[in-house]
Amino acid sequence: MNQQLVDPLRPEDKRAAASIVDCDVHITARSAVDLYPWLPARWREHVETIGAHVRSGVYNQEPHPRMMARGMRADAYPEEGGPAGCSLPLLQRQHLDPNGIQFGMLIALGRGIFEERNQAFAAALSTAINNWQLEKWVDPEPRLMPAIIVPQEDAEVAVAEIERCAADTRFKQILISPKSLEPLGRKRYWPIYAAAERAGLPLAFHPAAIGGGHFSSGAGSPTYYLEEHNTFGTITQAVLTSLIFEGVFERFPGLKVVAVEGGFTWAPMLGWRMDKYWSRLRAEVPHVTRPPSEYLRSHIWFTTQPMEETRKQAHLRDVIDWLGWDRLMFSSDYPHWDFDDPRYAFKMPLSDEERRKVFHANAKVLYGLP
């Protein structure tokens, strides 16, 4: 293959051991039973007698079934059984140790918080998962940095959970599904943003398999996984558009948002497009006082995976130049099928400064990591 594989670790970094911040590492419980120690009896019983209640026509399967090994690296299933992402030793052996990960930002998916329609159940699961993350993952492996899981459609409960968890400074961000019931800029979600701003925690938006009840594409429901995958990007665009035009960043100037796994090569163009239409329709959104691209440039960070692989290296470089090298943070998405290995994620040479920013400095500043 005539493309250059680039090692992101400079020689001295290698000697200095792990230095990468991976902004998208997934963990999941082996089964709901794993969460029982942190679930009250009432909800353990709910798991057994009622179970999940989701906005999807199929119950225990994605409505757009994934490709490779249910969307996982085929080699990431633990030998002893269970889903990919349920084994800490495997995560350490397969990713954290060999890939030089100094910090891994956890995105705990898979037990249905985002999808659950019963909000009281979602709230109980959130609390259980937050406690489970600390005890089962972060206590034994301090490289892992958890995100607070919240039942986002019930802002009041979500705020209480943020306040409870934020007291533990190991929580570094708040995880939100972009596939919400309403666009996330709308006022029903503002208490969450107020709490995030108070706690000084960024929000991480990470796509969820099952949505808030809207056709994922906005133009009808996709048929194929290829199409569904494309909505990760367009959904992220829709969320950022909503936050900006609803005036969220005017109201919460300290709010920081990380768009995880939604792509980034569309972001400069989204900024241009927003600016263009804003200039014509300012009368509709007088609360948006600055060109929308400025909010994008100052409040939003993007993660790299799945890395765009442009035919010409210069094209990707153009886009990151337009986006700003200070907005982009490496992520692997381990153990998902479209995992990016930090050594090979960029098929183009980076300067030391660019490498430093993308692989650790931007994330360390944003999350306040040592």
């Binding site: 666009p183 809207h214 290829l226 990007g233 367009t234 959904i235 792509g263």
Partner: protein, 367 residues
């Protein structure tokens, strides 16, 4: 900058939808009775996503005179065709009947709109060409309408809103593509939503400005649908024109589809080559609204990212307000590319322009 030569083909111009009263002469007795009895004829059918009072929809100097005597067609002639020296203009009359649920009613109104367009527009101005409006509520009716008008060389494409009810590539719509393909007509996916469901994957935005910004996502969804469903393979002669889609999202979209195809090919084995090759061959985009910043250096880079000089079609999007004065072309476009997008590409896209057809002078009103 201005377009520095005459003879361009303006691939997206607009006239307001005719009032219902103007359409009644083109209706049969049943439908004119229904429309007048139910007072349907007293109100316009304005598409919500084409709200004419928005500042975007009428450039201020192009809005001037709208209430004065003299027809809208006259103003289009002088302000768009003459002003930009266009030899041909493809005029899209967007009518809200495409958003109706009642498929027979929609078809009756759209037949009348199409006949009105032939009669009151195409046969009045030889530079103008039209788009056949159809509703997809009942694809069989859409097929019948395409077949009814296929013999009129004044119509050069079939127009559909980009955000409909189902993703556009679904097999249920293939008879429509088949009919268009048989007639040698491209399908124009035009910005706009039927609002049958939330126009974003995350629900209903509050503001028009969000609707406009999210159009490109609707175009992405429609294009990936056409690709995934195999429409490009199934209808090898059919071209898709994306009108008012914006342009700058397209390179990143192509990169993503190429990357995805390498991993998910086996889901869609009919996609037999890199998606970008298919897209560059089969998809065209109108120029305005061109959604890059006014920076020639960036525009030059974007054109390089686009990777093809055959994809863009010149358009003013008259009377929508995307640029001021005569500066219809973004700075940064080289002149030889301008000739391609203004003349060669439209002629290659619209087979009927090559035939030099002129609109038939009047149409039988078919009941």
């Amino acid at each position: 900058m201005k377009i520095p030569f005459k003879g361009a083909v303006d691939c997206d111009l607009h006239l307001s939808a005719p009032r219902m009263s103007a359409l009644l002469p083109y209706m049969d007795e049943y439908w004119s009775d229904q429309f007048s009895n139910r007072h349907i004829d007293r109100f316009a059918f304005t598409m919500s996503s084409d709200n004419p009072i928005l500042p975007l929809q009428w450039r201020p100097d192009w809005k001037a005179g709208a209430d004065e005597p003299g027809s809208e067609l006259d103003r289009l002639r002088s302000r768009a065709l003459d002003q930009f020296g266009s030899s041909i203009g493809i005029v899209n009359v967007i009518h809200g009947a495409i958003a109706l649920y009642h498929g027979d009613m929609a078809a009756a109104i759209l037949r009348a709109v199409n006949d009105w367009t032939a009669d009151k527009v195409l046969s009045q101005e030889s530079r103008l060409r039209g788009s056949i409006l159809v509703s997809l509520q009942d694809p069989a009716l859409a097929v019948a309408e395409i077949e009814r008008l296929a013999g009129n060389p004044g119509f050069v494409q079939v127009l559909l809103p980009v955000i409909g009810e189902l993703t556009i590539g679904r097999r249920i719509y293939w008879p429509v593509f088949e009919a268009a393909s048989r007639a040698g007509l491209p399908i124009c996916l035009h910005a706009g939503s039927l609002n049958r469901h939330a126009p974003t994957g995350v629900g209903w935005p509050s503001y028009y400005v969000e609707d406009y910004v999210s159009q490109s996502a609707g175009f992405e969804a429609s294009l990936v649908s056409l690709l995934a469903e195999g429409v490009f393979q199934k209808f090898p002669d059919l071209t898709f024109v994306l009108a008012e889609s914006g342009v700058t999202w397209m390179p990143s979209f192509q990169w993503r589809q190429d990357k995805m195809w390498l991993g998910v090919r086996t889901e869609l084995p009919w996609i037999d080559r890199m998606p970008r090759e298919i897209i560059r061959e089969r998809v065209r985009l109108t120029l305005q609204p061109f959604d890059a910043p006014p920076d020639a250096a960036i525009v030059e880079r974007l054109l390089d990212h686009l990777g093809s000089d055959e994809m863009l079609l010149f358009s003013t999007d008259y009377p929508h307000w995307h640029f001021d004065g005569d500066d219809v072309v973004p700075d940064g476009f080289p002149t030889d590319l301008l000739r391609k997008i203004a003349i060669d590409n439209p002629h290659a896209t619209y087979g009927r322009l090559r035939q030099g057809g002129e609109a038939t002078k009047s149409l039988e009103v078919t009941a």
